[in-house]
């Protein structure tokens, strides 16, 4: 059936979709958001104490994608047969209103400015030959100065807590000395440092690093954002990551944007609407709308629109472009096409320190966005010349609240038994007296790491699954190993009785069975050249100019920072240019 026409269709009700919906309704457009999952509201299912149930939440994946309906296939190399990602483990996409923005932790970074032009910066500093063969190092074609107002806007919407370093060129606080200049303060003061993070802060400073409290989209005090949405002060309950924050303290589309949108008559939200494809006209230069499956009635519905915003999770964006025929699919052999190119992830390893038994780290206390980090080995903040790799990692204590089931299954660490005799002893010591330090780093893009459609497996709607071809590469493994080696002096300075340093091993393959991070990126990257990017600097499709593709899919490289702050800034940046340029004169905003 045809459901008529709306000015703009937005696919996916996560951060990017909610931001675009708010901006486009403000511009006077009628907007329909299509979300394939359920509606979700904190007052209904995020309430206390039902929501803080670890088994139902993080273990049985209450807020995560239901793989029984659709998943991806994964292989490490082009020669392999990809097989389905059958059980959630390595990464955890969200589903339902709020998307991954409902179950995220809340670490809310801007961007390291050097990362936006990483190719140019590496060449300028170390020469063209420094870039390894097969690495698709690229620039974003947008600068920090251009994005700054949109980082500022996103922080005010999210109610972000943090301490600045400089504001308008003047020292304004004890924030990250490597952070770029700001136009304004954070809307809220930094979150308090938990005990383990305060130990890290002192020790890291003593060994000559530059620790700072993480910017967090967890409210350190009551807050009302520019949309009139209210947040309560975080009580460090520890249920951020994987949960929906019963305290209304963690920013989410559900708490910070949708309450304003739901009151707007120009806004329509349709849940249980699984978009099958974006419909294009006969020459594939213009989108006419979308076709979706109404999961309640199992009937196909087509909806027309002048503007289509693809703003689902990173790899769903790429999947939908491939299913719809938007742009040219990437071919790693011929090295042609752009959709699926530069698929990236992040490197993350977690090291552990044990303190004397008189010191309790109370690991259950925490906030997902809070902690203390150093940027001394992130981005281009250190000399890569003698090290011979591209990229870097922030290092941090980010005590988000360790739950007993996950901790127990993960085991005590080190060489301790994971069950049976001796297990309880070691587990009790680890849970009461240890802390963890992460190296949360970049991952570069490579010619033979990419996304395409799987030739064999299909989803519940008879469409091909997306196929990931991904493994770790030497450059990124060596980066991780180097940064982890820099953690050791901190461990010693903290007074650890013992510690275990976790790093990627040389030659290690990507393992889908173990949680690493949900920070997937790329596949529909932004850039200046339509031969190597799927969208232009405004996140507009080079090929179908009334389609915009918003999300971490636009990142040419996996950066060391958590992606949500950058996704939100890019969403506001894109929306601003749609409002001020595109709507007045629809068409390509950058000439190819």
């Amino acid at each position: 059936m045809n459901a008529g026409k709306t000015d703009a269709i937005i696919i996916g009700a996560g951060w990017a979709g909610a931001i675009l919906a708010k901006e486009l309704t403000e511009a006077g457009l009628s907007v329909t958001v299509l979300e394939r999952g359920d509606d979700r509201a904190t007052a209904v299912e995020g309430d206390y104490p039902g929501s803080i149930d670890e088994l139902r939440g993080a273990i049985r994946h209450r807020l995560f994608q239901n793989l029984s309906q659709t998943t991806v296939t994964i292989r490490n190399t082009i020669g392999q047969v990809a097989v389905p990602y059958r059980r959630l483990a390595a990464f955890l996409p969200g589903e339902g209103v709020g998307g991954a923005g409902l179950h995220w932790s809340g670490v809310h970074f801007r961007v390291a400015p050097d990362d936006l032009a990483l190719r140019s910066n590496v060449i300028a500093r170390y020469g063209r030959n420094f870039i390894p063969e097969g690495m698709n190092l690229q620039d974003y074609d947008v600068t920090y100065e251009e994005l700054e107002p949109f980082f500022d806007k996103a922080e005010k919407v999210f109610g972000t807590s943090g301490e600045p370093h400089t504001i308008k060129g003047k020292i304004a606080g004890k924030g990250n000395t490597f952070a770029p200049d700001r136009s304004d303060a954070f809307p809220l003061p930094a979150m308090k440092d938990v005990y383990s993070a305060s130990l890290f802060k002192t020790a890291a400073a003593n060994v000559g690093y530059h620790p700072y409290s993480l910017p967090a989209a967890n409210a350190s005090a009551p807050y009302t954002n520019p949309y009139g949405a209210q947040m309560g002060p975080c009580n460090f309950c520890g249920y951020c990551s994987g949960y929906d924050c019963y305290m209304y303290s963690k920013a989410s589309p559900n708490v910070n944007i949708l309450p304003a949108l739901r009151q707007d008559p120009k806004f329509t939200l349709i849940t249980k609407a699984h978009v099958l494809k974006v419909n294009l006209d006969s020459d594939r230069k213009k989108a006419t709308g979308v076709t979706y499956l109404d999961l309640r009635t199992n009937r196909q519905v087509s909806l027309d629109a002048d503007l289509v915003i693809i703003s689902a999770f990173q790899f769903h964006n790429v999947h939908l472009m491939l299913l719809s025929g938007i742009g040219r699919p990437y071919d790693p052999i011929a090295n042609t096409g752009t959709v699926g190119r530069n698929f990236v992830y992040q490197t993350i390893t977690t090291s552990r320190a044990w303190l004397p038994s008189t010191h309790y780290t109370n690991l259950f206390v925490g906030a997902g966005g809070a902690g203390v980090a150093i940027d001394d080995f992130n981005s281009m903040n250190f000399d890569h010349g003698p090290l011979g790799f591209v990229g870097g990692s922030p290092v941090w204590v980010n005590q988000a609240g360790a739950k007993p089931i996950a901790a127990a299954i993960g085991g005590p660490g080190g060489k301790a038994p994971t069950w049976g005799e001796g297990y309880k002893d070691a587990m009790v010591e680890t849970y009461r007296h240890s802390l963890t330090i992460d190296a949360h780093g970049s991952n570069m893009a490579y010619r033979d790491v990419y996304l395409d459609l799987d030739p064999t497996y299909t989803d519940a709607y008879a469409q091909p699954l997306l196929r990931m071809t991904f493994t770790w590469k030497d450059n990124d493994i060596r980066m991780n190993q180097y940064v982890v080696s820099r953690i050791e002096p901190i461990m010693k300075e903290m007074g650890a009785t013992r510690y275990s340093l976790a790093k990627l091993e040389t030659g290690e393959l990507f393992d889908t069975r173990r949680y690493q991070t949900t920070h997937l990126g790329g596949g529909a990257v932004m850039g200046a050249d339509p031969k190597t990017s799927a969208v232009n600097r405004y996140l507009q499709s080079w090929d179908v100019p009334n389609v915009f593709v918003i999300g971490a899919s636009a990142f040419p490289q996996g950066m060391g920072y958590n992606p949500t702050g950058m996704v939100a800034a890019l969403a506001y940046w894109s929306a601003y240019h749609i409002r001020t340029i595109y709507l007045k004169n629809p068409g390509p905003m950058v000439q190819a």
Partner: protein, 231 residues
């Protein structure tokens, strides 16, 4: 099991003054919680033979010792039996379409077996293996040392159980046992909150405004469950 109703009434009385109580009423957790009060527990999924195996294996994975009760008295077997009737037990949370190919281990689970299948086929295989090697005695009839040795063989995949890889059965047992020990008692395990007490996890307290940084002092309060039980 320690579940004094007066405690629950106190907890409820405390909640009545807050908005949380009214928001909470949409959940059916009370019915599930009450189901745990029937003793002794009669398994719904596992056969009597499987139930004996399960109880013995859970207890070896998380044994009774100087630190406190083991998995059996904590209700982990009951927890696992009840999980078999959930979407999880039926494999409904997993992508279960074929073809099911043999692939490198690092690419993850590639069998068509649900948790119910893994237990049914795996326990039969493990018990048969045990009878062959222990004069016809099943796993539950062996002493603790022999049971532990057999679980180690399972863990390292040093026996064949037909369609179920031995290490798969072991990891299923280990994970579900620990879930039973450390989940809210709502699901039948963690009886008396003894799992949480062992670790020092305060359960559903979920408010640590005053405990962000107490310079390494231990948190002073015991656990509370979702239904208001304390320990």
């Amino acid at each position: 099991m320690k579940r004094p109703s007066s405690t629950r009434r106190r907890f409820l009385a405390g909640l009545l003054g807050s908005t949380s109580f009214w928001l909470y009423s949409g959940h059916d957790v009370w019915a599930g919680s009450l189901a745990t009060e029937t003793h002794p527990y009669t398994p719904r999924y596992f056969t009597p033979e499987e139930w004996r195996f399960l109880n013995a294996a859970c207890e070896r994975i998380f044994p009774t010792d100087a630190h406190g009760p083991g998995a059996r008295s904590l209700g982990a077997p009951e927890f696992i039996d009840r999980q078999m009737d959930t979407p999880y037990g039926h494999g409904a949370l997993w992508y279960m379409s074929g073809p099911f190919l043999t692939a490198p281990a690092n690419l993850g689970y590639q069998l068509s077996l649900t948790p119910r299948d893994i237990y049914r086929q795996g326990i039969a295989g493990a018990d048969a293996y045990t009878r062959q090697h222990h004069d016809g005695r099943g796993f539950a009839d062996l002493d603790a040392q022999a049971q532990t040795a057999l679980l180690k063989d399972l863990e390292h995949g040093e026996m064949s159980l037909g369609a179920v890889p031995a290490h798969l059965l072991f990891e299923q047992l280990r994970q579900n046992t620990l879930e039973g020990v450390f989940s809210d008692p709502l699901y039948g395990g963690n009886k008396g909150l003894a799992g949480w007490t062992l670790l020092g996890f305060p359960g559903a307290r979920a408010d640590f405004m005053d405990w962000v940084n107490q310079e390494g002092a231990p948190y002073p309060f015991g656990p509370v469950s979702i239904s208001g039980e304390t320990a």
